[in-house]
Symmetry: C2
Subunit: 554 residues, 2 copies
């Protein structure tokens, strides 16, 4: 792509502006923003929580189960909300909130979201949404285009077709994943001769008709927990969501996958879907999608990709190749409320083939009549808000190159932070950033050396104490309210696949600076010193090991 | 309850105000509202659609599947949205929009919703929601209290209990109904000896373990279509959602239910849930809940009530008795975005027993750890917005007596409209309002008489033509954009259970006046005259019948 530098500069500037201050204060948007800012003062503080208050104390403000018998004035209740709720909420858009996938929002979404709330459209049907329906269909088309790059003719033919759907807008990635596997299940156990399909006759009869002993869905052990929920809801059973082990880089082990598929076949178990992960929730790694597509094809499996986090990377020409193969997926989950920077509640599942969603089509007498363009005939949810509007606006206002900049900055920042961690003697990087996620932990330099010299027993004690220490630091840092990283547990190859507690960092906020990242590490080192159990244990063990080594060397 | 008249008056006044003009223009709230109003001018017009434009024309404005390569100015894009989207959206809060359950919103929700959008909390876990979690738990407690009236001790013990949940806040009634039946299914096919339960092992093994030939969920033929979707998703199969016939008043026929249950038992089919409807979507009728509770108990079925629409009636001391027996339900669905007047996307399912939701409990490594108070461990959805805040605010600002007034006004208005229809010679009331819904159709007085004299063949022709005419009028009225009623198809006993197309009216907007209702009828009469096929057919048949009668009488 030829880059117009002038344009790119303008975008960079406007990008920065939308994340910092609203437009000129005398514009309509500016005035609106000013009013709201006055009310949400706590929201604009630099601390993540204004004052750290234990949850049990907060619960006291929300302890009555009685619906009030007397009305409150709006102003009084607003003060209550500002004092008791806003002040005790989590400032998810703070530049030092780098622990979860809840993103900061561009300021222009505040007034625009008022259009969404004020119009209160219901996207289940055209009669309560009118122009919002073509808009949502267009948004689904744009995302389909982002993934599959079909021809203009394709979109002209299918985007607004009454009996087809390029996907479903939904409340989030979980509903998107459930929808994808629902379609896959219904397609695998479709009508066949006398049998009218699993949708109509249910799973028990479907299994007897097709003669399988069980079903299976395969995904790497890094797959999102929503897939287990999907397996439960869909009647497949959590056991049938088979977690395939990952390699050193948290990517699905293809050999293990092939072996599992062979074992299932031998047991007369039908694997009807393979799920690739494009941006694991914990480490941000991407499965080898192209090879997964080959395997799914060879085994006649629906190929779904959970790109709830990583899908937005397709906006970046630079990093798009990381997701090579995604264009071969039968379905893809993308969350717009993650790296597309719209408010919570904007998930999507996109289907390659516009006819695939007929597997879950439904109708009713008073709406969703056959031939209508009502979106509700292909969604798991019923009534839905006009949230697609905010994604539509964001894609127009930020544009593809704007998103590319956001994505590239995030990944580059993660790489910088990884370098910082690796250069620091007291920290250990656990997972390298492929997207803008990484994991690491605090391990004093001496202890790092001691670990290479420890006996098996000493090593286990040290690793356990390190897990406790990581947990201690993470909790204390969260409580201090200056910055927030999350924690999870991994099983890194380097540590013999032993359960390892780690700090987890997500660097999607464009306002997060390198100084903030340095401060996060400094604070963690300082907090470690406050540990009265884990750190002394670690230090004493470290001393023992290093002294023994010194003696044996002398 | 002792009524304080002074207070009640104040509420009535403030109630009217919140639906008409915002607070004094110099207040913060007033200034914010002013700005938004200027932008949303189209939204404030009296017409439902500013100009009626065919959908195919609107689609032209939303026809490109390309994500823009150049950014737009916020102001320019806002103008696009106002011209092409807002102007072509449906004014769901217009007083003459009486066709669907999409409600008008109190004005105070506009600025308050900004807090929700701006803070962008994620209710899946405390780390991204903090005080919003106790708030949502309190809201669930308040709704539980509204339904079940448990003791204060009960709520102190369970409302904030980490390992329990009084329900789930979700995007809408569909997810609520699916969640209820998911819990019911998992409870019916629970772990038993060696068998680890349907959640773990799946439906096929569960059925073999329990030895049933099939499962069933029973609901009246007026049950919402989401239940069929639930049966599909949950692997039970749409066939297994058994529609029991209704009586003259669209309420489940208890004898038919008992008979169906006996038949299922004889066939070794396990009915694991009975669903009562408290406010059918099409007619607003309420099943005999107390008797349904008896039957569910006798047959060891989970008793779920779909009160998505009617649940809010519990706020009214006057009409609460209509739902007698709801306090015996195992679970209840209520949509706050319907008669609790909050924006789209606020459904709830409430469980009587705080332990019941453990049937669907799930955990993950990085969040929802065991013992945490994260709400996400008991929800079908994952990431969710802080929508509960708006319901919390509404219950405080409007208060229980305020809601009672809204509910009572709506029902009384429906009764008034029913009287108007019955008094009018050219209209026929099809379903009497029990809540604020009713159905009717246009049948010229002569034709009403002719129908009593017609042969079977003539009657059928007349009824078919009347169906066409109703459809014609409803479409024309929608297109004219002045007012909107919806249409559906019923099978009234009066018309030998023949499919009958009817106008469907939902009177939940407090600003709908009696004059508007009279105008709706006038417009429908006028529109009928424009029918060039149905009405002439009806008139000529009517003439033939009445002439024959005249001859036979003379």
């Amino acid at each position: 792509m030829a880059v117009d530098n002038r344009k790119a500069d303008a975008t960079e500037e406007s990008l920065h502006r939308i994340f910092t201050v609203p437009e000129a204060p005398d514009s309509t948007l500016g005035r609106i923003e000013k009013e709201i800012s006055e009310n949400l003062n706590a929201f604009l503080q630099t601390h993540i929580a204004a004052t750290e208050k234990p949850l049990v104390d907060i619960e006291k403000d929300f302890s009555s189960a009685d619906i009030p018998e007397t009305p409150s004035f709006v102003s009084d209740h607003t003060h209550f909300l500002l004092d008791k709720l806003v002040a005790q909420s989590v400032h998810t858009s703070a530049p030092s909130f780098i622990g979860h996938m809840t993103s900061a929002l561009p300021y222009f979404l505040m007034p625009l979201s008022k259009i969404m709330i004020g119009l209160n459209q219901n996207l289940v049907k055209i009669e309560t949404s009118k122009a919002f329906t073509p808009l949502e269909r267009q948004v689904l088309g744009m995302l389909h285009n982002l993934i599959y790059h079909e021809s203009d003719d394709f979109y002209q033919q299918w985007m607004h077709s009454a009996n087809h759907s390029l996907g479903a807008f939904c409340s989030g990635g979980t509903i998107a994943n459930i929808t994808a596997l629902w379609v896959a299940r219904n397609h695998a156990l479709r009508p066949d001769g006398e049998f009218r399909g699993v949708a109509q006759e249910g799973l028990f009869k479907a299994m007897k008709h097709y003669g399988y002993d069980d079903l299976a869905v395969l995904v790497s052990e890094r797959g999102h927990y929503s897939l287990k929920k999907a397996a439960d809801v869909l009647g497949i059973g959590r056991d049938s969501l088979i977690a395939v082990k990952t390699d050193d880089h948290n990517r699905i082990d293809l050999q293990a996958l092939e072996q599992t598929l062979a074992e299932l076949k031998a047991k007369n178990i039908k694997p009807f879907a393979i799920v690739g992960v494009a941006g694991t929730t914990e480490t941000g790694n991407i499965d080898p999608l192209d090879q997964l597509a080959d395997i799914a094809q060879a085994h006649d499996c629906h190929f779904h990709i959970d790109a709830a986090w990583g899908g937005a990377t397709l906006m970046s020409h630079k990093y798009r190749p990381l997701l090579k193969g995604i264009e071969r997926a039968d379905s893809v989950t993308i969350d717009a409320h993650k790296q597309l920077y719209v408010p919570m509640g904007a998930g999507m599942v996109i289907f390659k083939n516009p006819a695939l969603m007929t597997a879950i089509e439904h109708h009713a007498e008073y709406i969703l009549r056959k031939g209508s363009k009502d979106l509700g005939s292909h969604t798991l949810e019923g009534s839905r808000s006009g949230m697609a509007m905010l994604l539509f606006a964001s894609m127009n206002i930020i544009s593809r190159p704007g998103y590319e900049m956001l994505i590239n900055n995030s990944i580059d920042k993660a790489k910088h932070f990884a370098a910082l961690i690796k250069a620091h003697p007291d920290f250990e990087l656990i997972s390298e950033p492929e997207l803008c996620l990484l994991t690491y932990r605090y391990v004093p330099a001496d202890t790092q050396r001691a670990l290479t010299l420890a006996t098996a027993e000493e090593k286990e004690s040290l690793l356990n104490a390190l897990n406790d220490l990581t947990k201690f630091i993470q909790k204390r840092q969260r409580e201090s309210g200056k910055s927030f990283v999350s924690r999870t547990r991994l099983n890194p190859v380097k540590w013999d696949r032993k359960i390892t507690t780690v700090f987890r960092v997500v660097l999607a906020n464009p306002l997060t600076t390198e100084t903030i990242l340095e401060d996060v590490l400094s604070e963690q080192r300082a907090l470690a010193k406050l540990s009265s159990i884990s750190l002394p244990t670690i230090q004493s063990l470290t001393d023992t090991i290093l002294k023994r080594e010194q003696i044996s060397l002398s």
